[in-house]
């Protein structure tokens, strides 16, 4: 292997653009590893650790773009650099042909006084300044950036509430406003259900399920994961609930979150007493007693939240029938007949944090305890770097996996590698996966997972084992990646695809329960 690196002085690109270029370069023949990054101290450390730069690399600073390549030959490295140049040229010509580009938010506002919504995804340390500028200009804000301090969040939200503006985030990944998907979000039918969530992929999953159940949404508002903490006090939740209560098109309200801080819960329930629309809340992992005596209907998981929301929108009684139980039992029986008695464990590899969390809760409820990097019970907490043991569920969008790497909804390499590792473990019976579609995510998530599923099954097969792969697709038919096509791709690769993550988790649990009893 040879190392080749280059420094491009005074050339700035956002991290997603550079990650996409890096990913494509890594897929080129003869390339062991490749990364293109801005020259920050953090990136310098990452690239040094990966052996992509060294003491002989030309000096660089935060304003420079750094290219590092590990390749089998000089010509392979040159080809990767040539590809990067081509990528940049294309980017520049796209930029030139785009209709509207300005340098500052102030210029955006003066050029388009009617603009009313700012989506901000600058690096965390600059996020507060941009969000504050946007609020001062009267913009509602979706702050996608993470690594923003709790204090900055509180202050930004106070400014926003004073002006009656939305300040969604920081770390808010998903929102649908007036039918438009912003951030990581799906194309969902318009309808009567309004949602507020402090759980990104949770909001994606529930809006998608509402769509597949034939209903639609008015607005899907994200607050950022910390909004219901004591320190933030549910500032955005309060504003969003008020807006949905006042919105004539919203007939049903659905709330999604982990259990709020006690004081926030109290405040929220008091507010909801004044709401004259049906309200459904999924406080994932919370005690149903939290809602006792209130007018809020309790949903125990994301699927229940969507189904209860749809029933309410249709004016039907809020009673859920477990109509999938028989099918799940039948599938579990069929799979267990193929599995060996030593195959007792499942490995869940997730790109969506809330989906991983939902799976963990459902499995636990069904008596399957899992190790996880997001375990609530610290006894079962494992680091992302640790090998899986027994039943393991990994949220691969967590910091350990995304530090200097693209999010697993965009770049599947880490998940694919891990699938290969897990499939070689003779104790593993089930691989459990999510496949998240929509704007912002990979153009063909199932297409990335399919070869890895085939390979995992083959690895097991060559060792004389069957491997069950269970997946669910968080996507609608109208998404850029149509749902039916994604499902077909996964099924053709040998996965069992369930209608949602909750059902996929239940099937996994049913199989593990049976295998444990053997």
């Amino acid at each position: 292997m040879i190392t080749k690196n280059q420094v491009r002085k005074n050339l700035y690109f956002d991290s997603v653009t550079l990650m996409v270029a890096s990913s494509k370069m890594r897929e080129m023949p003869g390339i062991g590893n490749a990364a293109v990054m801005m020259g920050t101290d953090h990136n310098r450390a990452l690239m040094t650790a990966a052996g992509l730069i060294g003491p002989d690399t030309e000096p660089f600073g935060v304003n420079d773009t750094v290219v590092g390549i590990l390749a089998e030959s000089e010509s392979a490295a040159d080809a990767a650099i040539a590809y990067f140049d081509e990528f940049l040229n294309k980017k520049k010509s796209d930029t030139a042909s785009a209709e509207k580009r300005v340098k500052t938010l102030t210029a955006a506002k003066s050029g388009a006084p009617e603009s009313n919504f700012a989506v901000i995804s600058v690096p965390g340390r600059f996020a507060r300044a941009e969000a504050e500028k946007a609020l001062a200009l009267g913009y509602h804000v979706l702050l996608f950036s993470d690594n923003v301090s709790l204090q900055d969040e509180v202050e930004l939200k106070h400014i926003a509430v004073e002006k009656g503006l939305l300040m969604m985030g920081p770390d808010c990944g998903t929102t649908i406003i007036n039918g438009t998907a912003l951030g990581f979000a799906n194309v969902v039918r318009r309808g009567k259900i309004g949602l507020v969530a402090a759980a990104g992929t949770g909001l994606q999953e529930v809006t998608v399920l509402i769509d597949t159940l034939g209903e639609g949404i008015t607005q899907a508002l994200g607050t950022g994961g910390r909004d219901l903490k004591e320190e933030v006090g549910g500032l955005m939740m309060t504003l969003c609930l008020e807006a949905l209560q006042n919105d004539p098109d919203t007939e049903v309200i659905v709330i999604l979150s982990k259990p709020p801080a006690q004081s926030v819960m109290k405040k929220m329930l008091a507010q909801l007493e004044q709401v004259d629309k049906p309200v459904i809340a999924a406080f994932l992992g919370g005690d149903p007693a939290l809602l006792e005596g209130s007018r809020v209907a309790y949903a125990k998981d994301l699927e229940s939240a969507a189904r209860l929301g749809v029933l309410a929108a249709q004016g039907r009684p809020l009673v859920l029938e477990d109509d999938s139980a028989a099918e799940i039992e039948e599938l579990a029986r069929r799979e267990c007949a193929l599995l060996g008695p030593e195959q007792k464990y499942l490995r869940g590899l997730y790109s969506g944090g809330t989906l991983c969390y939902e799976a963990m809760l459902l499995l636990e409820e069904l008596g399957v305890k899992s190790w996880s990097n997001i375990a609530i019970d610290k006894k079962y907490l494992i680091e992302g770097s640790e090998a899986s043991s027994e039943n393991t569920l990994l949220d691969m969008g967590e910091d350990f996996f995304t530090n200097g790497m693209p999010h697993p909804m965009i770049d599947f390499r880490q998940r694919v590698d891990r699938m290969e590792k897990e499939s070689a473990d003779p104790g593993v019976a089930v691989l459990l996966l999510d496949c998240v579609c929509g704007y912002g995510t990979h153009e063909d998530p199932a297409g990335e997972l399919a070869p890895a599923i085939r390979k995992a099954k083959k690895t097991a097969e060559e060792a004389g084992r069957h491997l069950t792969v269970i997946a669910s697709v968080t996507g609608t038919e109208t998404d850029p990646q149509p749902r039916s096509q994604q499902i077909r791709t996964l099924e053709e690769a040998g996965a069992i695809v369930l209608p949602c993550n909750a059902q996929a988790s239940k099937l996994a649990a049913a199989i593990i329960q049976r295998q444990s009893a053997r």
């Binding site: 653009t17 580009r101 955006a108 009313n116 919504f117 989506v119 995804s121």
Partner: protein, 59 residues
């Protein structure tokens, strides 16, 4: 105070995207008007210098 939010619900969404331009293209693909703010780190990414500049602006 939610009136501004309800006004947004009743208006044409018009997006200013600051940063990652994948999100700008996603908005355009949905036929929603948008402008891309080609954000660069202030003061060439020097956080301390940026802070000083921001303070000067506030004076």
């Amino acid at each position: 105070m939610a009136n501004q939010v309800n006004r947004l619900f009743a208006s044409q969404l018009w997006v200013a995207n600051v940063g990652v331009d994948v999100f700008y293209h996603a908005v355009l693909a949905q036929h929603v008007p948008a402008v891309q703010v080609d954000w660069r780190p202030p003061a060439g990414g020097d956080a301390r210098m940026a802070e000083i500049l921001a303070k000067l602006r506030d004076l």
